[in-house]
Symmetry: C2
DNA sequence: ACAAAAAGGACTGATTTAGTCTGACATTAA
DNA sequence: TTAATGTCAGACTAAATCAGTCCTTTTTGT
């Protein structure tokens, strides 16, 4: 269906939120959750993913929270989405070393290469759009 | 996950198959199914969808089958994919008259407009790639 | 000590996908 | 006329994925 997952959307919303209030310290998961009506547990998980991918940093304990690890003009949408979305590919055979293990049609498929080109163009869209551009 | 459905892939494969042998009459669902190892019933359904969207024409009965309705340089990938994929949008709020009925976050969402721009760029990729370019 | 907040795992219900089955209906060659 | 070929169409199932919840642990400031 070529749809972004909710997690990806929440990640973008959270990143935008942090970017907007970046100067004034940490943002908590609760804060973001309430601000955008997103389930707390879900946004918390998403934020953890962002930390794992070095897009955000976290501080535990009272007065803790999350904050962007880099400037908004140094974070692309693809960074944010890849942090939460395991498999950001339009088809199953787009890994570096894909084989018939990834797709049973691998050997007789005639649309692999054209779709790889399409994939490159889509990646380009998400790579070239920076967080600062969606603020 | 931003993945194309198998139906979309099969539609592309079938369209390419027909484009390649267009001069020599009709292609049957069975023929395409065997050629690419796709389940017969599925590819048959996909071909029916292509007919419904005026991308292919069908002939019933003995010696019948499917054939492209237009030249391959007049069919874009988005035509083919839209024929089988009901909603080809990255998020739920991209209809012309979207409202909070489409997405509960509609009112407080701050990433709607940026994502609409992304959507436009992705549509552009699929619109500008023509069937003739993937032969 | 206590409360706030992140970290992380297990689990469930709902939705979507991929594929199957079955039964029409239309065309044509023999 | 009839049998074979082939499209058309809908219901159905199993598996995968998604979205969301629950629960426990760890860390930290007051
Ligand atoms: S090999 Fe072909 S059918 Fe298989 S995933 Fe790649 S493009 Fe799709
Ligand atoms: S309104 Fe916002 S959250 Fe809802 S679908 Fe659109 S972009 Fe996603």
């Amino acid at each position: 269906m070529l749809k972004l997952s909710k997690k990806a959307e929440y990640a973008l919303m959270a990143a935008k939120y942090m970017a907007l209030k970046n100067h004034s310290g940490f943002s908590t998961a609760k804060e973001i959750s309430e601000s955008y009506q997103i389930p707390y547990q879900l946004v918390a998980k998403v934020l953890q993913n962002l930390v794992k991918s070095d897009i955000a940093v976290s501080a535990k304990g009272v007065n803790g929270g999350f904050s962007l690890a880099r400037k908004a003009n140094n974070i692309s949408l693809i960074d944010i989405i890849r942090a939460v979305e395991t498999n950001f590919k339009i088809v199953d055979c787009m890994q570096l070393n894909s084989s018939s293990a990834d797709c049973e049609h691998f050997d007789c498929c005639k649309i692999k290469d054209p779709l790889a080109e399409v994939q490159r163009k889509i990646d380009k869209v998400f790579t070239e759009t920076l967080l600062v551009q969606i603020l």
